[in-house]
C-alpha cells in the first residue's frame, strides 16, 4: 500500500475537490495533525478522514500515527519528476488554450449571432 505507484487519474480526482486542495495547500506549509487539518474546515471529523483517505490513495499525502496523533505530510515524490514537468507543460497548454478561447470571445466581430 505504501509504495503503490500513484496514478495521475487518482491524483486529479483527489485534487478536483476544493476541500482536498485546501488540505494539500495546508500540508504544503509543513506536516499537520488531522485535527489541525480539520480546524479551518466546516465539516465533521469522519468527513475530513474520508477526504484524507482519498489524498492518501492518490499518493499525494501520507500519514502515520504516533500514539493518539495522526500526522499527515505531503509526498513530494508522488509523481516522478519527469511526469511533473510533462504534466506541468500539459497544464500550461491547457491554460493557454483557455485564454485563447477568452481572447476569441472578446474579439468576436459585432453583428454576428
Amino acid at each position: 500500500m505504501l509504495n503503490q505507484s500513484p496514478s495521475l487519474d487518482l491524483m486529479f480526482q483527489a485534487l478536483a475537490d476544493p476541500t482536498r486542495r485546501a488540505m494539500v495547500e495546508r500540508l504544503g506549509q509543513g506536516p499537520a495533525s488531522v485535527s489541525e487539518l480539520a480546524r479551518p474546515l466546516a465539516m465533521s471529523m469522519p468527513a475530513v478522514m474520508q477526504h484524507l483517505q482519498m489524498l492518501e490513495a492518490s499518493g499525494l499525502v501520507r500519514s502515520e500515527k504516533t500514539g493518539r496523533v495522526r500526522t499527515c505530510r505531503i509526498e513530494p515524490e508522488a509523481l516522478s519528476l519527469a511526469e511533473q514537468w510533462i504534466n506541468a507543460r500539459r497544464i500550461d497548454w491547457q491554460r493557454k488554450l483557455d485564454r485563447l478561447g477568452d481572447y476569441l470571445d472578446q474579439t468576436e466581430p459585432k453583428g454576428k449571432s
Binding site: F12, L15, A16, P18, R21, V24, E25, G28, I74, P76, E77, A78, L79, L81, A82, Q84, W85, I86, N87, A88, R89, R90, I91, D92, W93, Q94, R95, K96, L97, D98, R99, L100, G101, D102, Y103, L104, D105, T107, E108
Partner: protein, 153 residues
C-alpha cells in the same frame, strides 16, 4: 555533477472554438494578438520577438509570479499553412537550465462554423530535475497549476 537523463513524451490537447479557423489562426500568426493569450501567465515579459514565417524565430521570456526564475521560450517555425496548420520546434530554459526541446504541431480543423484546434507536442525533457530545490519547486508549481486549471474548468 549533473546527472544526465532524457525523457520523451507525446501528448495532444484539443479545444473547440466558436470562431472560424481564419480567426483562430490569426491569434497565432499576429504578434500582438498572440501576446494577449500565449504568455499571459508570466509576468515581466521581456521584449518578445516574433518572425512568423517558415524559418523564422520567436523568442519570449518572463518570470512566473513570485518565484523570480526567468523562463525562456525560443521557437523556430518549420511549416505554416494559413488557417490550416503550424509546425514549430521550441526550446525551454529555466534560468540557465535547458529543460526541454519540443516539436509542436497545431492543426486548425473546421468544425461547423467554428474550429477544432488540435495541439500535439512531442518533447524531449532534459536533465536538471534531480536537485532537491527544483524538485520541491516543481511539486508546488504543479499543484498550484493543477488547482488553478481545475478551478477554471
Amino acid at each position: 555533477m549533473t546527472e544526465r537523463n532524457t525523457v520523451h513524451a507525446v501528448f495532444t490537447i484539443e479545444r473547440t472554438y466558436a470562431a472560424a479557423p481564419a480567426r483562430v489562426f490569426a491569434a497565432w500568426a499576429d504578434k500582438e494578438a498572440k501576446s494577449r493569450w500565449f504568455g499571459a501567465d508570466k509576468s515581466a515579459e521581456r521584449q518578445p520577438e516574433m518572425d512568423f514565417r517558415v524559418g523564422g524565430r520567436e523568442r519570449l521570456s518572463g518570470t512566473w509570479h513570485g518565484d523570480g526564475v526567468l523562463v525562456r521560450f525560443e521557437a523556430h517555425y518549420f511549416d505554416i499553412l494559413p488557417n490550416e496548420r503550424l509546425v514549430y520546434a521550441y526550446d525551454m530554459y529555466l534560468g540557465d537550465q535547458h529543460i526541454s526541446v519540443s516539436l509542436a504541431t497545431v492543426e486548425f480543423r473546421p468544425a461547423g462554423a467554428g474550429t477544432r484546434l488540435v495541439v500535439t507536442e512531442q518533447g524531449t525533457f532534459l536533465d536538471g530535475y534531480d536537485d532537491a530545490g527544483s524538485r520541491e519547486h516543481g511539486t508546488g508549481w504543479l499543484l498550484e497549476k493543477l488547482g488553478n486549471s481545475l478551478e477554471a474548468a
